[in-house]
Symmetry: C3
């Protein structure tokens, strides 16, 4: 998330009670989770395993629970519990805003758009022109919907990222990370009925221009779909996935987190995508293989009895 305006490091250090070292002249322009950081960003790290990744990332300011050398041009904010500090900052800039109307006063709805009864449009939502929102749709705060978009009944845009701080040595293992990202639905995208599209943890979940989603599709936080993707019913995509332009996913395909599906790839129904797949090809199976390879494998399995008979006799 970008801050509304740059924030001085001194203010942040005082707010989270941190020891501030390094280049403290530049203000922070935003705060982000490590999987997507930019120059000017605050980021946090609390596990030694990720110290180097964070210190060497594009982030300029690192909230950390260790005294260490400051990378050139950067600053450290040293605290005992970086996760709590991160949560405190995010919650300050993105506080819980109650809603008591179906369409919030701060929502902006473009000319020619039609909102059916019973659709909920949260705070600061922006909806473009000639867009149709069906009944019982929920669009949570800060999401952005383009022009000529259709969102069908019962769909939820901007549900919370499924993203937890996990520690199994305490009574409650999972502690939700407050999310401050958005969902952006680009122009001419159409979303079927009963879908759920989670907001980004700190960046945006994006459904590209001209994408068509069937019913009951789940899209995880920070996942980005390119242009002209076609997703059939009951597809599920985890968080931080990149689906490039022109990809087709048939019904009930499942996609694991943080991977990339290349341009124009086609994945057949019920397949499970567990690693990056190259574009321009067709895939099948769980675990997934190129379709022709998987088809050969299925033929080989059918030949086992023949092989058995030859080797073992009848």
């Amino acid at each position: 998330m970008q801050f509304p305006s740059p924030v001085s490091l001194q203010w942040i250090a005082e707010f989270i009670n941190a020891k501030l070292v390094g280049n403290t002249n530049e203000p922070a322009t935003g705060i982000n989770e490590i999987h997507k950081v930019e120059k000017g960003d605050l980021v946090f790290v609390d596990h030694p395993k990720y110290y180097n990744k964070c210190l060497n990332s594009d982030a300029s300011f690192i909230i950390i629970n260790k005294e260490t050398d400051v990378p050139e041009g950067k600053a450290l904010l040293i605290v005992e519990n970086p996760f709590d500090a991160y949560c405190k900052i995010v919650t300050h800039f993105r506080p819980f805003e109650p809603a008591n109307k179906m369409i919030s006063d701060s929502a902006v709805i473009g000319e020619g758009s039609f909102i059916y009864p019973n659709a909920f449009i949260g705070n600061h939502v922006i909806i473009g022109k000639n867009t149709i929102i069906h009944p019982n749709v929920t669009i949570m705060d800060h999401c952005i919907i383009g022009d000529h978009v259709v969102i069908q009944a019962g769909t939820v845009i901007g549900s919370n990222a499924f993203y937890y701080n996990t520690k199994k040595d305490r009574e409650l293992w999972y502690k939700k990370m407050p999310d401050c990202g958005r969902v952006i639905i680009e122009d001419f995208a159409e979303i079927g009925a009963g879908c759920t599209i989670d907001r980004g943890v700190s960046h945006d979940t994006i459904i590209g221009r001209g994408c068509k989603l069937d019913n009951m599709i789940h899209i995880g936080h920070d996942t980005v779909l390119g242009k002209n993707c076609l997703l059939a019913a009951q597809v599920g995509i985890a968080g931080v996935v990149t689906v490039e332009d022109g990809v087709t996913l048939w019904g009930q395909v499942g996609v694991s987190k943080t991977l990339t599906i290349g341009e124009n790839a086609v994945i057949y129904g019920q397949s499970g995508v567990g690693s990056d797949v190259a574009g321009g090809k067709t895939y099948l199976g769980s675990p997934i293989l190129e379709a022709k390879e998987k088809s050969r494998e299925l033929v080989w399995v059918k030949r086992i009895p023949e092989l058995w008979e030859k080797v073992m006799g009848k």
Copy 2:
């Protein structure tokens, strides 16, 4: 869709700016998409691959982008872009009707039926007697719900057909085909929570008498379920599928488009049905096999190490 009353070919030709040839005396009684046409219907075709199928179908009047011989007793409406002509006609007879009430004035609700708060009942919907519609249900325009039906919370009846005109040489690859079909839920059918049932493209999606659907089931456009079918949670059925009487589909089964599942067939959980399956049998797997055949296959796979040892040595 049937027209409210027969429409003269001369009016249609002028409306879509078509050249009219052949038997122009009979009026058109309806307009349908090629997968389900009857005598008296208008149909369209724009791809040479499908010219013959359309010209030889039961449709009486063909909107086509080619000068060709007129089949006996039929008429052609020749235009440059048949898809646009089809859309223009459908949109004329089934225009977008805004909705600004939770229960539309044109909806008819039978005696003894109960509509919970927050259910949306669209224009021209007909609901029978002693039927219960739970909260946050959406029933879109023109759908027909029988007697003694239960539709549980969050379910969407009559979402749009997921059906697109596809051309990958333009900026937006997918152009939605306007649908004019309905969903018909017959008497004593029960639909669980969070389901989505798409309307037919030009005909009807039908859930047969006494069918029981669990939660989160997706039914595609123009699919027809016979009587007494039982579908467990998270089943997904694509478009134009025929499910005969008494079929059982267990949880998370996926069914591809345009196929038939025979009477009393039983499909076990997570199976993928990719081709017609005969009735009276039990099936398993993705791709699907008869259950006993699939079970044998699983046993054969477990024997590979034994075979390997015999052939290759330890």
Copy 3:
């Protein structure tokens, strides 16, 4: 279900027109379906296959369609159609209560809890403190939601059990069993968007303390999740399943009915759990295997061509 106060057997016998034999001094304290009965309970049985199971269960009073020896200390209520008698009693004590408000007058909502617009809260629902209910959520009658719970948009709590009396020699094969159980969501549990959690048939469906459920998850009737379980999107669990503490189910996992998943088990995405699995291990596949065993199996399948070549020649 427990009765509001104990009910005399004489009253019940008259109400369902039953012949009463055995120990008729004690009153019935509740009525339950055979899979979960306690001392003091009424239960019903109508199929000879289950006579012994019912007569020897913990239930004190058996509605049965057969004259038979009365087990010691128990009583029989002999009727022609035990299922109808059971339904009549359940419907008497748990009658259909219409709802005409979004938040029923009999609902109790704790301090600090926030209900978004358009959430439906049914009769006799109890919601704890500091809980957030998002828009378009449906919570049906009698459910109990704890403190510090989040239920995201479009989710349905307390949908009907998918549980039918089946007889294929009548016109309508499936007859719904009226349910009188509840859903209980314990403190600090979080439920994603678009989920459906069915109420118990006669007992409770329980989501344990600190469980985190992603979007579009289906939980069947009478299923119990322990503490700190983590379920990813599109998981489906059938009825009467026991998921012990600390279990992780990744995306699109399917779980069959009446089984147990042991403590801290981890099930990878798209797996199908068809039988009990021991705790502390990791599983994969449909049908499921221990992950390391399944991985070996996948390797063996890839070796078939090598085996074929050795045995059959090129």
